[in-house]
Symmetry: C2
Subunit: 182 residues, 2 copies
DNA sequence: ACCTGAACACCGTTCAAGT
DNA sequence: ACCTGAACACCGTTCAAGT
C-alpha cells in the first residue's frame, strides 16, 4: 500500500482558481478542475471534501493572495496599500471575488486582514470603542467598489475614469477617519 | 389551435423569486420553478428564454420592487428613502441581491433608480459635471453595505447594531455630498 | 494511501408530438 | 398557441474495487 499522491489540496485550489479566472465561477465544476489536473472528478473529494468546501478554499486563497504592508510604514500608507491590494485581487479574480460577501468577517483569514486595519486605525487615533465599527464601514466601502468593478457594474468605462473614482473614494474614507478621530 | 395559457413571464418570475427566497439562488432551478407552477420545466422556455434570461428578469424585479419617493419631498429625504428601500430589498431577497453587481448601471431599470438619485443630487447643489461620479460613489457605498448585510458578511450581529452602522454610513454619505457642493 | 469505474439523482436544453 | 415526453450532455456525489 502507499502510492505517490498526484495531487493535494494546494494543487486542487490552484487549478480551481485558474478555471474560475478563465471561465467564470460557473465554469468551476468538479470535472473541469479534475481535467486540468489529469485526474477523474472523484479524486478531488479526498482533498477538498466537497464542492462547497472547495469554494470556501478559493475564498481563503483570495485573502492570502496579497501581502500585508510592513508595520513600520505610516498608518495612512498601510491603509492605502491594503485597499489597493484588495482592489487588485478583485481585478485578478473577478469570478470568485463576489463570494467574499458571504464570508463572515470573523473567519480566521478575514481576521488577518481585519486586524491589520484595526492597527492602522488605532495608530490614526480612532478611539478604541470606535475601531470595530470604523473598520466595518471602511471595509464595506472598499469591498463594494472592488466588487462593482470586478463584476462589471461600472460597464465599459475606461480604466482611467474608474481609477479617478477610486481616488475619490479614498478621499471619502480619509474624511470618514478624520471625523472619527475628533 | 389556441389554448388558455397557464403561465406567463410574470408568474414565472414570481415563482422564481419565491424559490430564491426560500432556498437561495442555487435552489432556483428550472425544475423547482416549474414544480411550483405545476408545469413541466420545458414549459418555462417559451416565457423566459433560458435560465440566464430568467436570472436577468429576477434582477429587474429587484429594482422595480420598491417605489421611488415623491418628487415633492426635499432632496435629502428622497435620498434617504431610496437608500433605505435598497437596503430593505436586499433583506427581502438576499439570494438574488448579489446579482446586482453584475448589472451594468446603464440598463433601463437601473437607470430608473439612477436618474432619481441624479435629480436629488442636482437639487442638493452638486455641480453638473460632478453628478455622475457622485452618484456612482454613493450607490456603490449603499450597495456594498446592503450586499454585505444580505449575504451574511456582518455575521450574527444584532439588528440594532447593524442599524447603527447604517446610520453611520448615512452620515458619511452626507459628508461626501457636503464636500461635493463646495 | 490514493485514484478509478460504475452508478445515481439531478440539472439545462432541444425537438418533435400532442391538444 | 401553449404544454408535454422523450432524449441528451452535463453536473455533484457515493461506494466498492483496483494499485
Amino acid at each position: 500500500m502507499g502510492r505517490p499522491a498526484k495531487i493535494d489540496r494546494a494543487t486542487v485550489l490552484d487549478a480551481s482558481l485558474a478555471v474560475a479566472d478563465e471561465r467564470g465561477l460557473d465554469g468551476v465544476t468538479m470535472q473541469a478542475v479534475a481535467e486540468r489536473l489529469d485526474v477523474t472528478p472523484m479524486a478531488l473529494y479526498r482533498h477538498v471534501g466537497d464542492k462547497a468546501a472547495l469554494l470556501d478554499g478559493l475564498v481563503e486563497r483570495l485573502l492570502t493572495d496579497f501581502p500585508l504592508p510592513d508595520r513600520s510604514l505610516p498608518w495612512a500608507e498601510r491603509l492605502g496599500e491594503i485597499g489597493r491590494s484588495v482592489r487588485a485581487t478583485a481585478r485578478r479574480h473577478p469570478g470568485v471575488f463576489v463570494l467574499l460577501f458571504r464570508l463572515p468577517a470573523t473567519t480566521p483569514v478575514a481576521r488577518r486582514v481585519r486586524d491589520a486595519v484595526y492597527d492602522a486605525l488605532r495608530e490614526a487615533g480612532v478611539p478604541e470603542e470606535e475601531v470595530a465599527r470604523t473598520e466595518r464601514l471602511v471595509s464595506t466601502i472598499v469591498l463594494g467598489f472592488a466588487a462593482s468593478e470586478a463584476a462589471g457594474r461600472f460597464g465599459k468605462r475606461p480604466r482611467r475614469e474608474i481609477d479617478a473614482d477610486y481616488e475619490r473614494l479614498e478621499e471619502v474614507v480619509a474624511q470618514l477617519l478624520a471625523a472619527s478621530v475628533r
